[in-house]
C-alpha cells in the first residue's frame, strides 16, 4: 500500500515537471513561430524588381541662358514621358490607349521622378548622353515576380492582369527586368508607392527621439536614484515618491501619450509629430524603469565602500559621487539600455502625439515632423498593398534584431561587471 502511494506521489511530481516543460516549450515554440513567420514574410523585401532602360538625354535642355544647370527646367521636363516612350520601344505592338495605360502600370509610378534624381546625381557634362539605368517595376509586378501574387484566382480579382503578366515575363526573358538587392528600402523614407518606400526616415526619427529620451531620462533618473538611496530622510514625502515611482512603472504607455498630448502639445504649444515631444514622452515613461534599476545597482554596492569614504572625511555627497556612483555605473547602464530598448519599441504614446503622419522627408532636426520605426511598421501593416506587408515584416526583423542585440549587450555588460563583493 505504501509503495502504491509512493508511486502516485512520484507520478504527481512527474506530472508537475511535464506541465512545466510543456509550458516552457509552448513559449519557446511561440517565439520561434513568431520570428519564423515574420522572417518568411519579410525576407523577399530584400529584393526588388528592377528593369533596365537605355535612355538618351541631352543635358543642354537643362541649362539656363548662362549655361549653369537649371533645376527648374529639370523639374518641368517630362521624365515620365521619356521613361514611357523607352518602355514602348520594347512593345511596339501596343497602340491602343487603354493598353498603353496597362503597360505603364507595370512600372513604378515614381519611375520618372527616380530617373530625374539619378540624372541629377550623375551631374552629367553638357551634350547628349546615352545611359542605361535601373528603375523600379511597380509593386504588383514585383510581387508577381516573387511569386507572392497567386495567379490561380480569376483575372478580374487580381491586381495584375494576364496581358501585364505576359509583358513582365517577356521583359524577364529579354533580361531587361530582374530582381535585384532592394537598396531603396535602406536609403529612402516613406512613400505612397511600396517600391519607393524605405525605412531610413523612420530610423532617423527613432534615433532623434531616443537621443532626446536618453538625455532627458538618464540624468534625472540617476539623480533621483542617488537622492532616494542616500539623502532622502525616511518620511511621508519619501514614501510618496517611492509609491509614485513604482506605480508610474506600471501605468499603461498610452496614458503617457495622453499626457504628452494635453501638456506638451496643447499647453506648452510644442510642435506635433516632433521627435522632441516623442522623446520627452518616452523619457517620462522610461524614467521609473531607470530609477528602479539605478537604485538596485546602487544598493548592490557594499556599504563598506561608502563607510570607508565617510570615515576618511569625505562628505556624503563626495562618498556618493566619487566612490559609489562609479562602481554602480555598469548596473545603471544595463538598466538604461533595457529602458531604451523599451522606449524604442513603444508605439502607442507616439500615436497620441501625432508621430503617425505620412512623412516623405527624412527628418533633420528635433522639431521637424518625423515618425519612428514601430510606427512605420504599424502604418505599413495597415496599408492595402501586399508589397507593404513584406516591407513591414522586414522592418520588424531589423527592429527586433536591433532590440535583441541591445538586450544581449545589457546581459553581457551585467555578466562582465558582475562582482561578488
Amino acid at each position: 500500500m505504501i509503495r502504491k502511494s509512493i508511486q502516485s506521489r512520484r507520478a504527481r511530481e512527474t506530472r508537475l515537471k511535464i506541465y512545466g516543460i510543456t509550458s516552457i516549450c509552448f513559449a519557446l515554440i511561440m517565439l520561434a513561430t513568431l520570428l519564423i513567420s515574420i522572417g518568411l514574410n519579410g525576407y523577399s523585401a530584400l529584393q526588388q524588381a528592377y528593369f533596365k532602360l537605355d535612355i538618351s538625354v541631352n543635358t543642354e535642355k537643362f541649362v539656363d541662358d548662362s549655361g549653369a544647370p537649371d533645376n527648374n527646367k529639370m523639374n518641368l521636363f517630362n521624365w515620365d514621358g521619356l521613361v514611357q516612350s523607352a518602355l514602348r520601344e520594347f512593345f511596339p505592338e501596343v497602340k491602343d490607349r487603354d493598353e498603353k495605360k496597362e503597360l505603364f502600370a507595370i512600372i513604378s509610378a515614381n519611375a520618372g521622378y527616380d530617373l530625374k534624381e539619378i540624372i541629377k546625381k550623375k551631374a552629367l557634362g553638357s551634350g547628349s548622353h546615352t545611359l542605361s539605368v535601373w528603375l523600379h517595376l511597380s509593386d504588383d509586378a514585383d510581387q508577381y515576380l516573387k511569386g507572392r501574387l497567386s495567379i490561380d484566382i480569376p483575372e478580374e480579382d487580381r491586381r495584375i492582369n494576364n496581358k501585364q503578366i505576359a509583358w513582365v515575363n517577356s521583359l524577364v526573358e529579354r533580361d531587361i527586368a530582374k530582381l535585384k538587392f532592394n537598396k531603396t528600402f535602406f536609403t529612402s523614407a516613406d512613400s505612397r508607392e511600396p517600391e519607393s518606400a524605405g525605412i531610413l526616415g523612420s530610423v532617423i526619427g527613432s534615433a532623434l527621439t531616443l537621443f532626446v529620451t536618453i538625455m532627458f531620462a538618464l540624468p534625472l533618473a540617476v539623480m533621483a536614484a542617488i537622492y532616494l538611496e542616500y539623502f532622502a530622510k525616511p518620511g511621508k514625502i519619501t514614501d510618496f515618491i517611492e509609491v509614485n515611482v513604482n506605480n508610474l512603472a506600471a501605468v499603461p504607455s498610452i496614458v503617457f501619450g495622453l499626457l504628452g498630448l494635453s501638456v506638451f502639445l496643447s499647453t506648452f504649444g510644442l510642435p506635433r509629430s516632433a521627435p522632441l515631444v516623442g522623446g520627452l514622452v518616452l523619457g517620462l515613461m522610461t524614467l521609473p524603469t531607470i530609477i528602479i534599476a539605478s537604485r538596485a545597482s546602487i544598493r548592490s554596492i557594499p556599504p563598506s565602500i561608502r563607510e570607508a569614504a565617510l570615515g576618511l572625511g569625505a562628505s556624503k555627497m563626495q562618498a556618493a559621487l566619487h566612490h559609489v556612483l562609479p562602481l554602480a555605473t555598469p548596473g545603471i547602464l544595463t538598466g538604461t539600455i533595457i529602458g531604451m530598448a523599451q522606449a524604442l519599441g513603444e508605439t502607442a504614446p507616439l500615436l497620441m502625439i501625432g508621430m503617425v503622419a505620412f512623412i516623405i522627408d527624412i527628418p533633420t532636426t528635433f522639431t521637424s515632423s518625423a515618425t519612428a520605426m514601430p510606427v512605420q511598421i504599424y502604418m505599413w501593416s495597415d496599408s492595402a498593398e501586399r508589397a507593404f506587408y513584406e516591407r513591414s515584416s522586414l522592418a520588424i526583423l531589423f527592429l527586433v534584431a536591433f532590440l535583441i542585440s541591445m538586450n544581449l549587450l545589457a546581459v553581457v555588460l551585467r555578466k562582465k561587471f558582475e562582482k561578488k563583493w
Binding site: R10, R12, L16, K17, L34, V255, L259, F268, G345, E346
Partner: protein
Amino acid sequence: MTLPLSFVFFVLLGLSVYFYYHAKSGIVRKAALLSDRTKALPSHYGQQSFLWAFIPSFLILLVLTIGGPNYIDQIFYNKIQELNPTFNESFVSLILAKVINVSNGKISTGEENIIMLAKDYKIAFEQLHFFRGLVVILCAALLGMIISYRQKPGSNAREQVEKFIVNIFFASAVIAIFTTVAIILSLFFEALRFFNLYNFFDFIFGLHWAPNVAIRTDQVAAEGSFGMIPVLLGTLLISFIAMCVAIPIGLFSAIYLAEFATPKIRDFVKPTLEILAGIPTVVYGYFAALTAAPFFREIGFSLGLDVSSESAIAAGAVMGIMIIPFISSLSDDVIRAVPQSLRDGSMGLGATKAETIYIVILPAAIPGLVGAVLLAVSRAIGETMIVVMAAGLSANLTVNPLESVTTVTVQIVSLLTGDTEFDDIKTLSAFGLGLALFFFTLLLNIFALSISRRLAERYD
C-alpha cells in the same frame, strides 16, 4: 540681430565655465592676500560660481523658449480679434495659423493684411529671441560676478554646493510625483469638459458606444452616444482570454525554472523568455492581425463556426503570449524569495518535491503570485498595439470570444489619431476613457504592489 537658441546656450555654458576657473583662481589669490587658507578646495568655489551662473539663467532660457512663442501667439490672437471683432474663435485661430506659416515662408499669400501681420510676427519673434539672449547672458554674467565677489576664503563653499546639489537631486526625484499629478490633472480636466457635454452616469453605465458625431452642423447623423460598458466589457473579455493563456503557462514555467531546472537549462531559458518580453508590442499586433486571426478563422471554419476576422480570441491569445514572460519572471522571483529553510523542513519530513511545492512553497508565495497576476492584468488592460491592430472598432456588447469586440485603448487611439479638433466631444470622450483606464490600472497596481510588499516583509 538674431540670437539662436544654440548660440545662447553655448555662450551661457562658456560663461559659466569661465566663472568656474575665475572663482577657482580668484579664491586662491584672495586667500594669499589674507595669508589664510581656504575652507574648502578651490574647485568647490569654482563649482559654486558655475552653479550660480548656470542654473538660474538656464531656467530663464527654458521658460522664455517655451513660454515666449505662446505669449506672442496670444498677443497676435488678440490683435486679429481686435481688427475683426466679428470673427469667431476658430476662424481667428485659422488666420493666426496662416500668419505664422506666411512668416515662416512655408506658404505665400496675396492678402496684404496677412503679409503685414506676418512681418510684425517675424519682428516680434526676432525681438523675443534678442530679448531672450540678452536677458540670459546678462543674468549669467551678473550672477557670476556677484558670487565671485562675495566668495571669501572663510566661507564653506563645499557645504553650500552640496546643499544646492542635494536640492537638485530632490527636484529630480519629485518629478515622479509631478508626472503622476500631471497625468491626473490633465486627464481629469479634459474629462470634466467631456462630462459638461455628456452626462457622467450615461457614460459610466451606458450600454451603447457609437461616437459618430455630425461633422457639419447641417449633416443628418445619429447623435453620438458614449456609454462605456460595451467598451469596458470588450477590454475585460480580451484581458480574460489573455490571462487564460498566460497564467497557467507562466506559472508552470516559473515553477519548473525555480524548482526543477538545472542551472544550464535555466541559463538558456531565462534569457530566451526575456527576448519574448523584449519584442515590441507592434510586432505582436502584426502577428495577431496577419497570422493568428486567419489561423483562428480557419479553425473555426473547419469546426463549422463563424469566427470574425477581428475576433477577440486572436487578439487575446497573442496578448497572452506576450504576457507569459512577464508572469513567469515575476513569479520566478517570488518563488525563489521563499526561504530555503521552508523547503528543507518540508523535504526533511519526507515530502516529495511536488508536495513541497504544492503544500509549502506556493501557499507561502501566494501573495506575491497574486501581485504578479494583478500587474499582468493591469498590463493587459492597458495594452494598446495588439488590440489596435487585431481587435475591432465596433462596440459589441458580447462575451463571445469569436466575435469582434473593441477595447478602451482601441477607442482612445481611433478617437485621437487623425485631424481632430481639441474641443470636439469625440476628442474629449477619449480623455474620459483615458481617465477610466488610468484609475482602473492605478487601483490594480497599488493593490498588487502592496500585496507583494507584504510578502517581502514577511520573510525578511
